[in-house]
Symmetry: C2
């Protein structure tokens, strides 16, 4: 274990899951309207832009758990976790429009709505043992992770960061440096294998070994930065208690713990608000994003005041924590509570996970609530990215949207808006049952 860990970051060599389910640029095969738009897009957007699916989807309307293309065809969206309370939620549209007609000052002016939201957000952590008491707003998950690492460094008086080998924490700043799935590693980043085997002690041992290596490199361990559900390492949600020993190992080495809740947060796992809390652990810093504003750019670092106080540079983010995006975020909290979406995620998620286990076998399925991962194997039991891609394309033809994740891109990733219904899930399971014999095993 320690041996594997000490190979560290540069050896990760992940297949970037981003590129697994991408449109490959075969323009000729597309329908004319789509082809023209793809061409125009390629002529003006930077070359790093990617489209999903061999036939990219031109989205003209969206509602609840459905996307509609230009021709009005409806797709069941089992992939987009940003619109957690449902695409184009009317209450979000209303709250945002109202804020836009009232006022949208930045945070150097007073705004009661922003204070109010921060109070409400902190309440979601109140059940925890040593709850965070302060919020710093950002616009993106990337910004939140960048800032959290800076704060952890200041508080720890160290530099090194431990992540998992296929982690994704953002597209820029220190967040991309700490994302082995995207960037070539810097020496202060050390990547350990995600605990896909579900062994808390072995995971903790590799964190300790990583911290020792960071000490040896002269950086020390400033932070253990973990997605609380390891969503880009293939999704690991169990056993409950998985994170405790690793958190302790990082702290024993003088580091802080940052819980990246950008994917698992806001009730996604159907068991309280936050992925780390499910494991009964208390991080030092927590980063939020994606579903926070149902698609409006809002993110946050949440922590305790004494930890924030360690970071001295002024932090001012022009657009963050302003009434317009906060109006969306406030609506998200209200709707999750009023509509019981966490309980809904738990019960509909149980149906989803149970159904997947029935189809693929219990060993192939991981997840909790409405976050599910299914390892796709070839008949010899090896990871099968081609079959995974085939399955995604077949579902796309049947108007169901999922995608892939994991080191080799051979893990189905399923994370619908929380408002997906039992009937939607049953339909998905039936279509899977129908398509599977043609594709795998």
């Amino acid at each position: 274990m320690a041996g594997a860990a000490v190979t560290g970051y540069r050896s990760a060599g992940a297949v970037n899951p981003v590129t697994v389910n991408s449109f490959a640029g075969e323009i000729g095969a597309l329908r004319p309207a789509v082809r023209d738009l793809v061409r125009r897009r390629m002529d003006v957007l930077a070359p790093a832009y990617r489209l999903m699916y061999a036939e990219p989807l031109d989205v003209s309307r969206a509602a609840g758990a459905y996307l509609f293309d230009r021709d009005g065809r409806r797709y069941l969206d089992l992939y987009n976790n940003v619109p957690g309370i449902g695409h184009s939620h009317p209450k979000v549209a209303e709250a945002v429009a109202t804020a836009l007609t009232e006022a949208n000052p930045h945070t150097r002016y007073l705004s009661e709505a922003v204070v109010d939201y921060a109070e409400r957000l902190l309440e979601t952590f109140a059940v925890e043992a040593r709850p965070p008491d302060r919020v710093q707003f950002c616009c993106t998950g990337t910004e939140a992770n960048d800032l959290a690492v800076r704060i952890a460094r200041a508080a720890a008086g160290r530099v090194g960061v431990i992540v998992t080998q296929h982690a994704y924490h953002g597209s820029g700043g220190l967040a991309v440096e700490a994302s082995p799935s995207v960037a070539p590693g810097e020496d202060w980043v050390f990547a350990v294998p995600a605990p896909l085997d579900g062994d808390p002690a072995a995971f903790a041992a590799s964190v300790s070994a990583a911290a020792a290596e960071l000490d040896a490199r002269g950086f020390g361990c400033a932070a253990l930065l973990l997605d609380s559900a390891f969503t880009s390492d293939g999704v690991v949600t169990d056993p409950i208690g998985l994170l405790g020993p690793a958190y302790a190992a990082a702290r024993a080495a003088g580091g802080l713990v940052i819980a990246d809740e950008v994917q698992p947060g806001f009730g996604r796992l159907g068991d309280g608000w936050w992925g780390h809390a499910r494991h009964g652990v208390v991080p030092d810093l927590i980063t939020l994003g994606k579903p926070m504003g149902n698609g409006l750019p809002i993110a946050a670092v949440v922590s305790r005041s004494e930890i924030f106080a360690a970071y001295e540079p002024a932090y001012f983010n022009t657009f963050a924590g302003t009434p317009v995006t906060v109006a969306a975020a406030r609506t998200v909290l209200d709707v999750i509570i009023a509509d019981g979406l966490i309980e809904h995620a738990r019960s509909v998620g149980a149906r989803l996970l149970g159904g997947l286990q029935g189809l693929f076998g219990p060993a192939a399925v991981r997840g909790a609530g409405l976050y599910a991962a299914v390892d796709i194997h070839d008949p010899a039991g090896r990871p099968d990215p081609a079959a995974t891609a085939g399955l995604i394309a077949a579902l796309r033809r049947r108007q169901i949207l999922v995608s892939a994740t994991g080191p080799g891109g051979s893990t189905l990733k399923i994370r619908p808006p929380l408002v997906v219904t039992e009937a939607d899930i049953d339909h998905f399971l039936e279509v899977l049952d129908d398509e599977l014999p043609r594709l795998v095993g």
Copy 2:
């Protein structure tokens, strides 16, 4: 000059302009309603948050160039450049609300509105000699500058970045490392004095000296990163042609040039869309933000495809370039054109600058269009931050909002929404004329 430049970044020791006009925490002196809200805010927001003014402003409504406090008192806003087309613009509210009820997919799906906007945005550069042809959306100016530096590094095959001594380019990532006004410097950043003397050759010489020093440090010069109006160095807009020799010096050293248009862009200077174009120069990368979406979080890196292509890592920003924020940005372009706001900024700005010159003397005033800076001196001609603060507070009492900038915080910063009227400016000049005798000289 070279001597001063070679002192480099760590010696900058700027008074952070962010803290010049801050509420100092004297809660007791505030009116009860404001006091309670400030208390609640301090209890939940991170300690890095700052409020402006000795008596913070509780904004309940905003329209055009006016802010209204909780008691309905109206303030003339001569400071906020984010709502360029005016606070709470009804067309922005309408466009955003419509997009929110239709669809807001991320950039791995097709959306004609996003392609359309990118086309329109690129048209604003069409008058330039070698216009950029591709857009990469971000959510904040920080993200845009972070990415632009990464791209420049990849394209140049070098690491070092040259900035000015009191520059501000962002709150995180490589942008904050390259912001001497906030962060302690890293060795790959070298800061040169801003050309406050308006001498293009001397400025170019200090860029050459900085590049040589970065070569000597082993980093080389990847980029010269300049705010096209040097807005946090005290505002330098003239003479026309100021930037050309410095751009050439950076290129002679193997570096690219990044024009930070977050402050001067979108017509602010009353002379075309972009601050760099006013000087007849062509940057390699251009970063946009602040007024781009009139307050919605949207920013961009604009460049040529071959430069973008040098940067290999995948770039995906969950919230960037989505229909909702693009709807706001599209409205901004449309309104600037339909309402002739660039010409308006030029004519109203000329009145503002002329009036300020009459009051403070031509030597104390810099700026172009609706971006004005006034150096405030004591009777002996020394920079006077106390008088500057006094003037800002006096204007605040007279319900006019401005703030301070510059190394010592002794420069008034005036940059109203572009829709400010001649009558507003005349009122401001009259109030200034009235208050000045009590405060300075």
